[in-house]
Symmetry: D3
Amino acid sequence: MAKELLMHDVGEQVDLFLLIKSATKGIASNGKPFLTIILQDQSGDIEAKLWDTSDDEVKMYQPETIVRVAGEVHNYRGRMQLKIRQIRPSSPQDGVSVSDLLETAPISKDEISSKVTQYIFEMKNPNIQRITRHLLKKYLQGFLEYPAATKNHHEFVSGLGYHVVSMLDLAKAIAELYPSLDKDLLFSGIILHDLGKVIELSGPVSTSYTVEGNLLGHISIMVNEIGKAADELGIHGEEVVILQHLVLSHHGKLEWGSPKQPMIKEAEILHLIDNLDAKMNMLDRALKRVKPGEFSERIFPLDNRSFYKPTFHL
Amino acid sequence: MAKELLMHDVGEQVDLFLLIKSATKGIASNGKPFLTIILQDQSGDIEAKLWDTSDDEVKMYQPETIVRVAGEVHNYRGRMQLKIRQIRPSSPQDGVSVSDLLETAPISKDEISSKVTQYIFEMKNPNIQRITRHLLKKYLQGFLEYPAATKNHHEFVSGLGYHVVSMLDLAKAIAELYPSLDKDLLFSGIILHDLGKVIELSGPVSTSYTVEGNLLGHISIMVNEIGKAADELGIHGEEVVILQHLVLSHHGKLEWGSPKQPMIKEAEILHLIDNLDAKMNMLDRALKRVKPGEFSERIFPLDNRSFYKPTFHL
Amino acid sequence: MAKELLMHDVGEQVDLFLLIKSATKGIASNGKPFLTIILQDQSGDIEAKLWDTSDDEVKMYQPETIVRVAGEVHNYRGRMQLKIRQIRPSSPQDGVSVSDLLETAPISKDEISSKVTQYIFEMKNPNIQRITRHLLKKYLQGFLEYPAATKNHHEFVSGLGYHVVSMLDLAKAIAELYPSLDKDLLFSGIILHDLGKVIELSGPVSTSYTVEGNLLGHISIMVNEIGKAADELGIHGEEVVILQHLVLSHHGKLEWGSPKQPMIKEAEILHLIDNLDAKMNMLDRALKRVKPGEFSERIFPLDNRSFYKPTFHL
Amino acid sequence: MAKELLMHDVGEQVDLFLLIKSATKGIASNGKPFLTIILQDQSGDIEAKLWDTSDDEVKMYQPETIVRVAGEVHNYRGRMQLKIRQIRPSSPQDGVSVSDLLETAPISKDEISSKVTQYIFEMKNPNIQRITRHLLKKYLQGFLEYPAATKNHHEFVSGLGYHVVSMLDLAKAIAELYPSLDKDLLFSGIILHDLGKVIELSGPVSTSYTVEGNLLGHISIMVNEIGKAADELGIHGEEVVILQHLVLSHHGKLEWGSPKQPMIKEAEILHLIDNLDAKMNMLDRALKRVKPGEFSERIFPLDNRSFYKPTFHL
Amino acid sequence: MAKELLMHDVGEQVDLFLLIKSATKGIASNGKPFLTIILQDQSGDIEAKLWDTSDDEVKMYQPETIVRVAGEVHNYRGRMQLKIRQIRPSSPQDGVSVSDLLETAPISKDEISSKVTQYIFEMKNPNIQRITRHLLKKYLQGFLEYPAATKNHHEFVSGLGYHVVSMLDLAKAIAELYPSLDKDLLFSGIILHDLGKVIELSGPVSTSYTVEGNLLGHISIMVNEIGKAADELGIHGEEVVILQHLVLSHHGKLEWGSPKQPMIKEAEILHLIDNLDAKMNMLDRALKRVKPGEFSERIFPLDNRSFYKPTFHL
Amino acid sequence: MAKELLMHDVGEQVDLFLLIKSATKGIASNGKPFLTIILQDQSGDIEAKLWDTSDDEVKMYQPETIVRVAGEVHNYRGRMQLKIRQIRPSSPQDGVSVSDLLETAPISKDEISSKVTQYIFEMKNPNIQRITRHLLKKYLQGFLEYPAATKNHHEFVSGLGYHVVSMLDLAKAIAELYPSLDKDLLFSGIILHDLGKVIELSGPVSTSYTVEGNLLGHISIMVNEIGKAADELGIHGEEVVILQHLVLSHHGKLEWGSPKQPMIKEAEILHLIDNLDAKMNMLDRALKRVKPGEFSERIFPLDNRSFYKPTFHL
């Protein structure tokens, strides 16, 4: 069972333990119930149908259940689907746990934690440093486990922390080339910009939006948190407003959910770095499965474009 | 001196005490300095030019100075201008104070205060009532004195409170026709929606934006304040998030500065009431000086439209 | 049979007389014909499928047929569907008539008629009054029976008259708060603004667009009717053009189908009142079926938003 | 005086009888009054300034006055201006009449009239023919004298009729290449499409918008007129609605003032022909004064583009 | 077999040789494979389903295969579908060839060729004439066989050449009415404007985009080709840049894929002629199957509009 | 004379040799001619007026003339202006040359040249390397001297080369963090992306657009050049089309002048790097003159935003 789910080409046989990510009941055109289930392992997810399902089966195959599935990968309207031949719930004897089947960031929580800690350690402005450290500590567990989004980019366990670490490394490289940038501001803005997601989203697995997330959004949530943190720490300098502004404006435009456009140089650059890292993540994931001389699936948040892999990219 | 500034038609002589609202130095095409000054009394403001100004005169005619001016109203490119014949700074003996010359809301601060207090008193939900009362009390003085905006609508002393009172009365009438509306939410949302302007703007006279106003805006400022108020009052109910959402979404669309669109019925209605009262204020002020059968000046925030006064509106 | 169609929750059994609103033939993936039918009673409508339909059945289950249906409500992709177990056409002995099963306005045609008549009676400007009375009389029957639209809001029998009455009451309340408004203009504009729908649409049941409706639209139709009415009544005052302008501009923007934006104060306010009443209708209908703490279905004309019902709205 | 106004290059001396198209009073930066006047002859118009004007001069140089002017053409911010050395009102002895100085269409009113009459004569559908003839007859004088617009294209005496004749000839040529087109509809649509301008605009000279023009616009005005004409002629066929639709939709898009987009083939083609003839007129007028190898002034309604005249266009 | 595919109404029996245009495998809701195939003859194409297909059948019914099909036309969601009763691959004895079943332009390749040659022959500017002749000769075969697009308009064999000939005839008629137009430029621009499609597209049958077509597009491809042609012919006049500009700008706007808007009069007119001929083609094809008094299917590139055929268009 | 032009604050006296960048004649409101001249030295430029200019003076003060100017800096509507007290043309004895007064990149042409050469040297793909080297060599002089634009960013001597070098260094840093990027493609795309500007623009001083630049633009010009280079070098690999695509798509969106959006990962990243370096340049130049706690002038290409310099950025 070494070969992972998404390593299988169309036509290949699959026999794997997989995690049910979601399961939706439907009525087939012959009037009988069926289930549409999304199955995943660490390599990603795939859709499958379960026809003529009994009520027992519907109860058996709930989200977050581990199952053993045998079947064949086929192509349905340009997307891969799994045609199930056999399926059964796993038992404790199988020795498979949920965490074995979740996609996770390529670096560990420890690495993320120590890298971010180091960046905070190097900050020179004490107000910025204290606020950043305070908020990271307050929400550390979520920061290390949550995805950065429910879909599109970094939508996996520890995606949030991994995205932040990539952005910090990128910011460091850019700040060396443009020394007028205030590294403290930039690093703090990066660490805090999406931290509100630990309140906006429900958790690392089967992620959805909380009521507070829907009504306020991670941007307003974190702007409030920065205000509270400053109050608790007794910090009154302009750094507080500036950090709030960096978080507030990091979507770059009003129509993308930032109530103010960037008005600080580091806010503008934070937005660009966020954009660049998210796009690299989407592009790399989309092109991973594409052969030279072919086009990728359409990537919705990139204006629904297909990307081409040149033939000389062997 | 009974006849106010804007009651004069083109061609009429003026001899009035006026307040300098702003004064900008320029260089005329003959190379000599001149001042463009905006003069106001309670009826509104008018532009005037002061030619060949000496350095002494520039210092003498600063904003917030009271002057006595004699001159003639004329029409310059479709806008009224005052052609100054004589001007001198007022002296204490003239017995004119700044407040005599400022445009103010048609109802007094006391009336505003007692009306709003009454609306809060009638609220039934204690969480909503307590947060609203707490924040109004905290920022009462500004609430009673600030304008609702630097331009466009309710841009006069006590404009903020007057706008809120008009909206409250309108909300009450609407809620009687649509009884499914939650009056507590609606009234509280109206009282709080622009309260952040007392931090966003510099003050009731010669109003400009503060740094915090520029970088965060009155929406984010008040969302934070609601969070702090709830913390201080020990309130944890969903009312907190809902009130924050009402303030957050009251501009109605992302591109108008709300990071979330309304997702609560009362939030949608709050936005519509705000809109209706602001438009009525702009329309009434623009049409006040227009004769039946004529078109008004263009009103910029109303898509730059001119409005027509029907000939039968005698 | 006291419990109406939409009062049933998912999983409940249904046994009701229902009206077929529409019926569309399809071919199932097994190559056999089936019918998609929309069934309704006064509480609203629901979709159902009829599998393996014979030609006789297709003829039997035409729109505007009353049927007796037994089955179960289930959830299909987030929308309710009726799974039919038994179905038969009703016979005269069942004693059920079409009007028993149509959704209608919450107030009667008589009430609508007398309220609108009263508003006309109170008008002071004789030109406005006579044109309004003339056109209402000419199209009274349609005005009392038509829906206000084919979908989105007030899409039920007498929806047009009900929408107008709500708007009139709202306009009256607003005009009391803003006494500069010309009530005659406002009331007449409200009564006439959608009256062209009695020509644009096919009728109160199974409503569709007429050719004239498609090619000209209710706005141009009614602008023409006002011109004709004035000619027939020998009225030449500016009121004619102003009333035409109110109808012409009531969609508010060119891209929403008004060839001119409002250029009269009452035209602007008419547009806002129309908007507010339509939104209240959509919001109340969407939230009616939602439990506290849940989100509604997406409402397409409200920018496709979901609305949340607070948990304290018990 | 053979050389016309716009035939003069920058730097040349001018001594001509000219017509004052408009005159606006201003106050110079030295506090003295001046007049900005637009002067025209048949070749076009030019701006000039009259400094230190007395009240008598202001009264003397009103719009539609003929004056004799000596001066020099110079270039002011990329536009030609006339620097006046001497100016006096013309006297009857000068023997110059207003019509000598107005720009007019290159073909006479008689030609326009007989060409359009011929096109109507050739129509085969009696309903279309009768409505078209009726309306042309009703508004013939205005049709032959009005401009097609106040600015941008065909903004000269008889511009409306000339524009229509050009479009008719173009439509005839197109209909020969695409024989599926209904020539009667196309010709009638062309003759009527802008005829409402004789009500929308004030007249052939110093043209401005009437109140009816502002509030309803030429499209709605003519749609009403077609309805009235059909009533008076007792015509009830679908031709009436179709002709109304052609006029209604001829601006092509909602945001360009058509409340319906074209839904008839001939309506779509009418829009394209209108567009093509207007653009040819604008392009020819703009390029007339440009030398090979140079760019024209920016043409506002053509997306503010400059057009280049190739060097090989000698 | 005289009656062609699209001449059949819903409900009629079909027994025809048809060409498979495309075939896509799917999985039915009973878990069995099926094929969605598009069948065509010279009158157009229609969709059909083949249920429970074996692997052999999938191989047998590939695109560009000729089959004999018996079945019935029915209506599926407003579009025609063919319900197959019998199907078999054709054999050589049937005597049917692919070209018998392809939709082609209504004029022959020879006619296209001789008409275009004549237009080039009449050019007076030798630089324009030589470049045009050179490029037409280089890509003549593709020019005579390719469609003008993969869908929307002129999407049939020889569609490109036919579109160009229609545009040339139209341009000639227009240039006679507006003699300021440079006919050489206009004719050359028309001949070259879409010629890059012979590189952008894969060929006349089952047309798709090439990699070069996707990454560069026919506009950039042809601009390059004009540059190369001029180099090879040793032509250095401004005509080269002007012709490149005509091709570059013929989509009219940046957002439609032209990196420059038209800045030459003939470039603007070329864009309008292209537009007019494409729209006539779409409208005629859509209205061909519509009866008087009915609306056509929605035409996507015409803003998704339906067009109405008047009842008097018998 | 050590203190440069833009180092002077408002109110300070200036006595400097300056270069006339542009000179425009106007007519003052007293009827007398004047000149608006832009004066520059290496620190930037400033506007000044020369009143009552004689014809001789107009000839004397042409663009690219060196003058000695004494005067005072003052503030005119929020922008700095120079009030001239004395002015005279420089003579050879003054020993000032044009190059002494031009703003130039902070690194020398030699440095630019050797850095770019080194990047080309390190390329591994011979096709990419040869095309890049060939085109750089062909246009080397312009590449080292031209600005990157006529305004907005890098609008100074050697701005093009400096912009490319900054982007190359940035690309190198990014490629180290995201090793999936093809460095050869990225570096070549950066070197070529704006190289067409040496044909689009007139030269390094008083830069304007050439006719070819206006009609084709630097993007199409360089796409052609890559095609020609590949022909001359006999290169036929897919690298040619890919490099053309990188140049073609580097503006990122159709409405920004790219006829194709990026469809290669490196094309997307090239666009982001171009964007980031241009914005850093604009931000640094705008903030250079701003004191902590103040807002910059509005930066037009950054959505016309003002940027704030935090008070703690001492």
